[in-house]
């Protein structure tokens, strides 16, 4: 998949309470969750971003709660993918399991500025900063993760393997 959009920059340790505050966890409706995406990190975010845009963050993105509502709210808001220096463990796992493309790239996360136009090729792991004319190569997705993605996520994978 190739995504093109504007970069929205965030700092280190963006936690799941900032991504989707717990006051909205009384619903699991995707459209409702999307309305509050990143609200406690930037209350204006949902009003400013456009579908296809990319979140670019620092270290430990998605730390804190296991709430899948966090990647759901990001995906449902229309964000195409998240690039970060590093991801917290449960968020990383959730993103793959439910199909939100995420890429770990310290170089890209540092080299991309807020508002830059970026193009992301998730399969080849290439991130282009169109505004700056630079490109970054990320480490390929581990083969098992690729298997999960190819199967369409963890559930189809489990069903296909006939584990139940």
């Amino acid at each position: 998949m190739i995504f093109k959009g504007k970069a929205w920059k965030f700092g280190d340790d963006i936690d799941t309470d900032a991504i989707i505050p717990a006051r909205y966890l009384n619903t699991s409706n995707e459209a409702e969750l999307a309305k509050h995406c990143m609200e406690d990190a930037d209350p204006e975010f949902v009003g400013k971003m456009r579908p296809g845009d990319v979140i670019v963050a620092g270290r430990n993105f998605g730390c804190g709660s296991s709430r899948e509502h966090a990647p759901i709210s990001i995906k449902a808001s229309g964000i195409s993918c998240v690039i970060a220096v590093s991801f917290a463990r449960i968020f990383y796992r959730n993103a793959f399991n439910m199909g939100l493309p995420i890429l770990e790239s310290p170089d890209a996360a540092e080299g991309i500025d807020d508002g830059d136009e970026v193009e992301v090729d998730t399969e080849r792991g290439i991130i282009k900063n169109l505004s700056a004319g630079t490109a970054y190569h990320t480490t390929p997705i581990p083969s098992f993760m690729q298997e999960l993605i190819n199967a369409g996520g963890l559930i189809p994978f489990v069903l296909n393997k006939g584990f139940y």
Binding site: D13, D15, D17, A18, P21, A22, R23, L25, N26, T27, S28, D40, A41, P43, R59, N60, C63, G64, S65, S66, R67, E68, H69, P71, I72, S86, A88, R89, I90, R93, N94, N97, M98, P142, F144, G153, L154, I155, P156, V158, L159, K161, F163, Y164
Partner: protein
Amino acid sequence: MKMKENKRDNTRRGMTLSEKILAAHCGRGNVEPGELVFCRVDVALGNDVTSPIAIDIMEKAGVKKVFDPDKIIMVNDHFVPNKDIASAQHSKLVRDFARRQNLTWFYDVGTMGIEHALLPEEGLVVPGDLVIGADSHTCTYGAINAFSTGMGSTDLAAVMISGMTWFRVPETLKIIYTGKINPYVVGKDLILHTISKIGVEGARYQAMEFTGPVIENLPMSGRFSMANMAIEAGAKAGLFNGDSLVEEYVKPRAKRPYRMVRSDPDASYARVLEIDVSDLEPQVALPYSPENAINVSETGNIPIDQVVVGSCTNGRYEDLLEAANVLKGRRVAPFVRMIIIPATMKVYRRAVDEGLFQIFLDAGAVISTPTCGPCLGGHMGVLAEGERAVTTTNRNFVGRMGHPASEVYLANPAVAAASAVAGRIIHPGDL
């Protein structure tokens, strides 16, 4: 099923607690950090926030029955008794599912407790278990020698369907606690101090093993607090070796046979850290990160509006007792609200039976039925703009307990109680 070629046992090397438990659950003699393995899990847990998504996923996949109704546990604990119509719908969805699926272990208002206090107390998790829960604080059961870790709702759905999910075998960070522990210093302080030393991603993707002479003498309540907050250092799990204290806790409760596990002396660790606790005071983690922990005497004059004693971190009987010992014969300061939340109905009953409620009521505190409630800004103590709380919970992120411009200071139960009396953050010894 294996993702990588099995290395034969003739090169057998020592294993960590995590490696031993994961190997035992994928039918292997040994596993190596970094390997991806498919494991059979003993228990999978969901709550009223995370189960609805998992139930929806399972039903959309066309699966009619959970793989084993004995092994899927659901607890309505986050927003109960229900705070609004939307959360009531969620609880009902979980309740209806539990009834339809004939889940053996379903807990609702009247029997429920905060899941991570409840499961060990009910003997539903035992040493050597592999447990996953759709809640980040599932790592709590490391205190009773289980490998347990938080995941999302899709993982819970996968286990509901198949009884299995994937694990990356983690590297292990071993921490050795030495020295003499000071008065009023408990497990909560050890883990806050540890997080302040290694940072909120200091153990990211890793398992933590808590060891050393201080740990050998640390009571179970303190061990639960420590394992519980391993996630706050980014860890996948936080484990303790099986010993006589674990045995004493588990034996009268266990609903299944178990075998305790100890890490091998020649196990290999990603990092070994030694922490001397001799100079350690009770800790207070300043907003907005658990890694901002400092000695309580260094906090300065910080007036407060609210105190909460409770949560999966510090809502056990021993925690309530520590607060009661400080509150006895004292009153909560004017303009401070103090909220006590026993973590389970058994804790609640024991606190009544042993006179703790009397002490809390005399002091001017209120007592709630078990709920995660205010810890995540749900209900039962949400903060207004600019308000400040000292709490025994586990996270002090922006907006965690309410308004994004409110502040949460994390502390142990004695510090929380002393601060309620003083109206500002204070060392219990200074009251």
